[in-house]
């Protein structure tokens, strides 16, 4: 695999919601097989950027390309197929509450593949074991803890063996111990499965474990884009000021 190959690119992307201009010329690239972190204050457009990649939002201007597909003009069929190659971990987990954990994982395979019930069950078990919750299958989301919900959300995002995985604040609402275990799990899976990742996160500790490169977003633009090793030794004054108050 050519790790210099760009798989996600934003070029001068603008997005507004009513009078609120959120993305103001956002530009960056993500190389295949790497994980990029997006860091920045609230309202700088990090989650908005993430939602453009999976097609939940369309830009007002500029270009968002995912594996050669221009997201503004992608057809419904192409988007459907592209999404099967991507996984998205929502901040709240976004598990379907009236389905068990196993049913949550099985649903994408039941809806989008011709696999038989036995094979689907096998893959569900495999993914639950991958996230270290093999016995959670019969439980409902309301019966499991926040940390377990994040693991289930991660397992669901991995169920179609995606090439790209997007994380929207995977540590939100978790205590430091559980957060550390989730970060370690994400890193382990990324390395093992060779996925490309894009991660929205406030916590420095999480970014240091998971990300290969980090972008600092400020007022809807990518102000700083550095490898993780140098990112947290900032020379840019705005980034230095932000990191001074950021959570470890």
């Amino acid at each position: 695999m050519d790790s210099n190959d760009t798989i996600i690119s934003f070029e001068d992307v603008h997005k507004s919601f009513g009078s609120q201009h959120i993305l103001r010329g956002l530009s960056f690239e993500v190389k295949r097989g790497t994980t990029l972190g997006l860091m920045g204050g609230s309202g700088t457009g990090k989650s908005v950027a993430l939602r453009h990649i999976i097609g939940l939002l369309k830009q007002d201007s500029g270009s968002v390309q995912v594996d050669g597909n221009e997201m503004a003009t992608i057809t419904t069929k192409e988007l459907h197929d592209l999404r099967l190659r991507m996984g998205y971990v929502f901040q709240s987990g976004a598990l379907i509450n009236w389905l068990t954990v196993a049913e949550n994982l099985a649903l994408p395979l039941q809806e989008n593949s011709d696999l038989d019930a036995e094979e689907i069950e096998r893959r569900v078990r495999e993914k639950l074991e991958m996230v270290y919750i093999p016995d959670a299958g019969e439980k409902f989301p309301s019966e499991i803890s926040g940390g377990m919900k994040k693991r289930v959300a991660l397992a669901r995002a991995l169920i179609t063996d995606p090439e790209i995985i997007l994380y929207d604040e995977p540590n939100a609402g978790l205590d430091p111990q559980i957060s550390a275990s989730i970060n370690k799990l994400i890193r382990e899976l990324s390395d093992k499965l060779g996925m490309t990742g894009l991660l929205v996160e406030h916590r420095i500790g999480c970014l240091k474990v998971i990300a290969d490169e980090v972008i600092f977003m400020y007022e809807g633009q990518a102000l700083v884009h550095e490898p993780v090793g140098t990112f947290f030794k900032p020379t840019h004054p705005r980034l230095a000021a932000f990191l001074g108050g950021a959570e470890e």
């Binding site: 999404r83 996984g87 998205y88 709240s92 976004a94 649903l107 994408p108 809806e111 179609t160």
Partner: protein, 261 residues
């Protein structure tokens, strides 16, 4: 300007609902695949509302018989109470009351369920997983109400007519035999077009349409919810209000269409 904006919003909402109905129709062949959710919805919309239909239906029949009977008695025509109650309930009150009850109980629940899914990103999650949410969520709900509304209307009609019979016997001194004979023969009048009892099939056709109206409007309201718990509340209110208004308007046009011939 506010009126223009409101009109634009109304047109937008109506367009979304009509499109949703169209999308459901295009997916009718998915029903066998959705039978688990369909059975769940049939239970929720039907069985769990049976006691409400029975209670409300009984008292509607009794009230209708009492009010009509008092006036008929002034002209010595109380013997016709069976005919009037049976046709009035079968044509109008049965489907209408059932539709309103389902709008309030089931419609509000549908809007709240889907609205909660919207604000907690569950709908977005389904989209990111390439899952057809119209097929998974809306189709079973529309199909279940299209089936259950006529079935509950039959129950409502029967209990209402029986309630009317109690009042006819107890307060209007019309025998049960006379009441039931006039009621049954009134409902057996065939239409010229189909040769079936017109008042019965007219009422059932109306209730089928009302069921679809409640389901489509409620699902549409739920899918469009934004803004947390307040948004869910607002969406739920909108679903019930708009369903009731739509039932009333549709009732007029259906009645005009069915009975003008």
């Amino acid at each position: 300007m506010a009126a223009l904006r409101a009109f634009r919003d109304f047109v937008g909402e109506t367009g979304f609902r009509i499109d949703l109905l169209f999308q459901v129709v295009l997916r009718l062949h998915h029903i066998p695949r959705r039978r688990r959710w369909l059975m769940d919805q049939l239970y929720t919309s039907g069985v769990q509302n049976l006691h409400v239909i029975l209670l409300v239906g009984l008292f509607i029949g009794m009230i209708f018989a009492l009010q009509t009977g008092i006036e008929l008695a002034k002209f010595g025509q109380q013997d016709q109470i069976g005919l009037i109650v049976a046709t009035g309930i079968a044509r109008e009150m049965g489907p209408f009351i059932t539709g309103i009850i389902l709008a309030a109980t089931v419609g509000s629940a549908l809007a709240a369920e889907l609205g909660t899914m919207a604000v907690s990103d569950e709908l977005a999650a389904l989209e990111t997983l390439s899952i057809d949410r119209t097929s998974l969520l809306v189709l079973p709900r529309v199909a279940s109400l299209a089936i259950m509304c006529p079935m509950l209307t039959v129950v409502c009609d029967l209990i209402s007519i029986m309630g009317g019979g109690f009042v006819a016997q107890a307060q209007l001194h019309v025998s049960w035999a006379l009441y039931s004979d006039t009621a049954i023969s009134a409902l057996q009048m065939p239409s010229e077009m189909l040769g079936l009892p017109k008042d019965v099939y007219a009422g059932l056709f109306k209730s089928f349409v009302f069921g679809i109206i409640v389901a489509v409007i409620s699902c549409a309201s739920g899918l469009k919810v934004r803004g947390g718990a307040l948004g869910v509340g607002s969406g739920t209110r909108q679903a019930v209000r708009d369903s009731i208004i739509a039932i009333i308007v549709a009732n007029y046009f259906l009645t005009w269409f069915i009975y003008q011939t």
